[in-house]
Symmetry: C2
């Protein structure tokens, strides 16, 4: 099964997500500026997380009336965190479009993010399942806390691989597992299956973020939708940078970046060194390992098309070279 087929499997649900987003925008009728901001961030996402929710919820006895709002909720939470991240990073572009902070200012980015968190929570509540609401709130806490850690560690080079994984787990894998856990729970999956889907979400999330961190070094701005080296500009030391530091502990432009010296020049140098070092391939291999780990237990789930779709999704994560 390829990615298109995987998405096709949950197309009605994904269309439902789009519709729910339109309803949120329409709900701000009479407040055109708010509608404009919401449209800017709600239209045209990649919907990986809702797809995960819908697929993870396809193995057992699911009620689409509960699964559907949760698919909406995971994507809304994702978008809300992006809006706040961009505000924090003073990022100008996201998905090739102006960010709320760049077009409307920081204050409106903070508030629009808050509004989206609220709507995300509302959608989680619409599942009618308190356990899922609890997971939702705990995930948001983990993400925020992880971002606090990242902010406090910025421009610091003394970070271990374990700390990197921990950060990535909080930043990305937590929301992936919310997607898979909630899907599993809402379809009344047995506990063992919930755990298998949880580990799938976790490992896929780690792989996804590793690839994201790779793309910050190899992607062109036009492809990734944001400038190359953006992480380093924020002082975020990701896996490729960590590996470069291990390889060249003494003569390394990262040392100057940590001292915030000639940032633009040293970032360009670091990007160039990472690209020409073989580190990118190493990182892709690691992401590949996590993807294989993610899929390693899926054969224990019922034989449904969703299983092939989850494998196709993991495949895509690795191939996401642009």
């Amino acid at each position: 099964m390829d990615l298109a087929e995987a998405y096709a499997l949950v197309q009605p649900g994904l269309t439902g997500v789009e519709k729910a987003f339109e309803e949120i925008i329409d709900g701000q009728d009479g407040f055109p500026e708010m509608q404009k901001m919401l449209r800017q961030v709600l239209v045209g996402g990649k919907v990986v997380r809702p797809t995960l929710t819908l697929l993870a919820g396809s193995f057992y006895d699911y009620d689409l009336n509960a699964l559907q709002p949760m698919a909406v909720s995971t994507e809304l939470m994702h978008i809300a965190t992006l809006v706040h991240d961009d505000a924090i990073d003073s990022a100008d572009l996201r998905r090739g479009r102006a960010t709320i902070n760049s077009a409307w200012g920081l204050d409106l980015a903070i508030l629009t993010g808050d509004f989206l968190f609220a709507r995300a929570g509302e959608m989680a509540a619409r599942t009618g399942v308190l356990h899922v609401v609890m997971l939702f709130t705990q995930t948001l806490a983990v993400i925020a806390r992880g971002e606090v850690r990242q902010a406090l560690a910025s421009f610091r080079l003394d970070q271990t691989y374990e700390q990197y994984i921990e950060r990535v787990a909080a930043k990305t894998a937590a929301l992936f597992t919310l997607a898979t856990d909630s899907g599993a729970i809402l379809s009344r999956a047995p506990e063992e299956a919930v755990q298998i889907l949880h580990r799938y979400g976790y490992n896929l999330g780690i792989a996804f973020q590793i690839v994201d961190d790779i793309l910050d070094f190899v992607g062109a701005a036009s492809e990734v939708g944001k400038p190359v080296g953006a992480d380093l500009a924020q002082g975020t030391v990701t896996l490729p940078a960590q590996k470069l530091l291990q390889r060249y502990p003494d003569n390394n432009p990262l040392l100057a970046i940590a001292r915030k010296e000639n940032l633009a020049e040293n970032i360009a140098k670091t990007v160039e060194m990472v690209r020409s070092s073989g580190i990118i391939d190493e990182c892709y291999e690691l992401a590949d390992d996590f993807c294989r780990l993610a899929c390693s237990e899926l054969d224990q789930l019922p034989q449904k098309p969703a299983k092939e779709a989850l494998i196709a999704l993991a495949d895509y994560v690795i191939k996401r070279r642009k």
Copy 2:
């Protein structure tokens, strides 16, 4: 009944709120910087909102195991919005203490606010009542949306009294009604009583914010915990300023403020004019009207000490001259 007696009535619940806050701080064991930030905002609040929740929940058959987390939730949501408000306003002080944004930076203020929203949602979910969770998320959306409106209207003088009340309703009364509604619902109050307590919360919230807006003109920085004229510095035109503008539509320092000319000087002039105009008394009278309206239906509730306490709370709102 005086205010101290009103608080005494719900003291075990308020102690429970403090304890819950301590647990949230302790939960970040091994992350001292996070604990420091949380302590900065969680310790020493005025707990008006938890008091409201606990009192509103005292008339019927309440389960303290549900009411207690909701009391925590309302105060956490309040604090989270303050953290984001201060970040937006670049405020240095809150309750006489350094704000998160001033002591740790804007990024950490955004993230700490998000973390607190998450914990607030978790506490709402701990009530075990989805209806209350739904009210929680809807209230957060109303507050965020109201703040968006306020931000978009900043430095604009063409605002009506109705728009002011609408803004105040979103900014403050929404959380007051969440407190009273949730208390009422969690104590299985009959629908009519829920509505009476809702209107109490709404009208008290409006009165509370009017007094807050007055204090921005008459309070000394040491008493209010933030500088006088802070609203005007943000371009927020509150009731006293609106009234001044109506009284002196042509020769008024607000016209220069709207053009952002000599802000400090013109703010000082505006504050002085408001103080010497009798407008403050007018505003207090209006707040008084809302307080009386708030209490006007309480006699229909069961004869419990909580009723006298709600009246004492309304009394305090008006007397809060410092």
